[in-house]
Symmetry: C2
Subunit: 252 residues, 2 copies
Amino acid sequence: MSDEAPGIDPTSSVPKHLQLKDLLGRMIADGLQPGSPIPSERDLAEQYGLSRMTVRQAINALVADGRLERRLGRGTYVAQPKMDVQIRLVGFTEDMRRRGMTASSRTLSFERIHASSALAAHLEVESGEPVVRLVRLRYADGIPMAIERTHLPERLVPGLVEAGAPESLYRYLAEEYGIVLTWGEQSIEAATTAAEDAPLLGIRSDGVVLVMARRSFAEDVQVEYATSAYRADRYQLWVPLAQAARPIVRNP
Amino acid sequence: MSDEAPGIDPTSSVPKHLQLKDLLGRMIADGLQPGSPIPSERDLAEQYGLSRMTVRQAINALVADGRLERRLGRGTYVAQPKMDVQIRLVGFTEDMRRRGMTASSRTLSFERIHASSALAAHLEVESGEPVVRLVRLRYADGIPMAIERTHLPERLVPGLVEAGAPESLYRYLAEEYGIVLTWGEQSIEAATTAAEDAPLLGIRSDGVVLVMARRSFAEDVQVEYATSAYRADRYQLWVPLAQAARPIVRNP
DNA sequence: TCATGTCACCGGACTAGACCACCGCCCCCA
DNA sequence: TGGGGGCGGTGGTCTAGTCCGGTGACATGA
């Protein structure tokens, strides 16, 4: 509470443009309304004792993140909060929270298995390598929503099986193992329910589900291979679309 | 063929950093293998008579596009071609091309209708306003893949109905009307086939389909509302996942 | 009253340097 | 022969300017 006007620490090893980006990011999150202007580049440069190029670097990063908006000849403004420009690597709990529903889950099994050749290929491990397998029935607002089968190489999460199934896997990975997922890929398709899943999900045995397979990575290391079956009558995905890349033309 | 070493035109109204970005982008597309280095920032600056900051601006843009990769202390390298970081706003034809299949299509109907209240809401037009409706059966490698129902406000595409159904709608919009789609949003869900669609798609009447609804925009103007039903046995979506945004924390 | 032109201020572009940390290689010394 | 240190090149950061074109408010004049 002493530093009521936090500034840039020129002695810090953190680059100034990142310090300023953080500072502005906090200003935006804390107080500024969407549409309201931030100080001009020249003002910020003077106020924090930086050159204008450095200020621009910080602002550019926030513009790239979609949090600010430049208007030529006018100023820089706090952007309207928009939908994520990309599907995020979030777990079920967070996904449901964003949809305004309450997530809960029932663990159906939690065990150490040995990777089949198919699983080994999906998880980038050796065939036969120990793998932690977690099968959960996922509820949203108390009603079955999905069945999720998660697989993790055991060498990345020693002791996990013994510790029992965590409430939020992603959070547990971060807190206990320091594993923060940084990117992933996911396939999406439609299918009819597997016979054994139907009663768990509370749908007919030929009910329709949205099947997703996810591979998640922390930097270059694959951490997770998960398949999920979501009840088609309760779940819908929403994705933003970016402009198509301009085809490469020789003589434009 | 005269300008064998195209350079930067300092008199052009196109900013130099964009000219250089284009130049480098073409170099990457034309010849350089993934993993091979591009000239150093200092070399490029000298070669094209630019300051290093300008060169960095061009390179930064390509890095943001995922086409280059910086390695500290070593250099800048052509990135491994990766999947699009985002689902692109491409039509069926382009989508199939990317999947290595040949697209064709049969027009089932192409007419002027008046917007129902539901359609009006989806298309951001007035209820009753004239709308062009195009229903097509889409084939990939000659086999039915999807049924697509596209709606466009007629005021944006006068004369389209009279001209007949174009081969590639998106290209036709760009060439004839100067309408270039810049962004969109799409919902995805699983469902069973509508009874009338099943025989067209060549699947059972209770067959499973992936249903997508797309709204496409050119800048701020909505241009298209399209619903599609894809055969679940032939179509799979693939999406990349970005790292979850750090939740906003007041006192980190 | 209303149109027009001026002007201050904004972001956009660009320069020509500076110093730093990092990386890989090569040479020299143990 | 093997290990370590030095060195040159690289990207990362940062400065202190300049000039340009777009914007909007305000003053001025018809």
